[in-house]
């Protein structure tokens, strides 16, 4: 970025901003595939959405969540999530369960097979995070990244809610 080492009042240019955002993007798209390596339900690396679903169900009570909540958490439309759940169910990793209290909702529930895969995936994923995120950034870097990302996420989420209302 700024090549002039100088005062802390140095302005951020348009180029700096575009570069920063580009780096953010590229970091994610270069690193993501590394973090799913070798988590292999079908011989290939696991897909991002599968991993997200398994991980969230694994850490939920009873290993289950309502379809709609899960869809929201993994940022899919309801229609899109229906089909993701179909695929996972077809492969034996989850089952749908009716909810007794509210008959509109369907729980997505991990099977034993799904839970096993989720735990294996999580362990492997964490090891890869240490190798490909913690190692290059260091503890300080990881915390700095998390801090900025959190600010960004919260601000953007809030902004989108405001826009949604208007």
């Amino acid at each position: 970025m700024g090549t002039k080492a100088g005062t802390d009042t140095e302005q951020i240019t348009d180029e700096d901003l575009i570069t920063c955002w580009g780096l953010f993007h590229e970091a994610l798209s270069e690193t993501t595939p590394l973090l799913l390596q070798g988590i292999a339900p079908c011989g290939k690396d696991m897909s991002g959405p599968w991993f997200e679903v398994l991980l969230r169900l694994q850490r939920s009570p009873h290993h289950r969540l309502p379809m709609s909540q899960l869809a929201r958490e993994v940022s899919l439309s309801s229609g899109g999530f229906t089909k993701l759940a179909d695929r996972l169910e077809r492969n034996g990793y989850l089952v749908r369960q009716a909810c007794a209290l509210d008959r509109r909702v369907t729980y997505a529930t991990l099977t034993k097979k799904g839970l096993d895969l989720a735990e294996q995936a999580r362990t492997k994923h964490v090891a890869l995070l240490r190798e490909y995120v913690l190692a290059p950034l260091g503890e300080r870097g990881v915390r700095a990244l998390a801090e900025q990302a959190r600010k960004l996420r919260d601000n953007s989420r809030h902004a989108r809610e405001e826009l949604g209302k208007g």
Copy 2:
């Protein structure tokens, strides 16, 4: 939970790492749509890949680049990029040009209409970056984010090249 690995950078737990990575992901997916607001070739917000292509062509000499290079830069497969170029060409934003020196290559070249859109898009995008990235993070935060993202990108890119060889 944390695996103690002996180096001095090991106060970070598994949870911390998963959280950090989740934040990174969420920040990107929450913020991205905000940054393409109102850049509207067809009444809707512009798609990410369109914007990337237009921006890169706009800042290239003669507003053109070889198809394959552009595909790589926007992280699309060659087949996928062919169709993206088809769409942009069908909408009048670019044209294909044969290269005289190497008759395998085709240049994707911005039209006047494409250049106009690119410049409008860039201006708007930068304004949105200031509003949704610079404002919440501050200069210091933007620089911190860029620094960590760059380390991550470079390290991951290098790692993937190594893996590709093996």
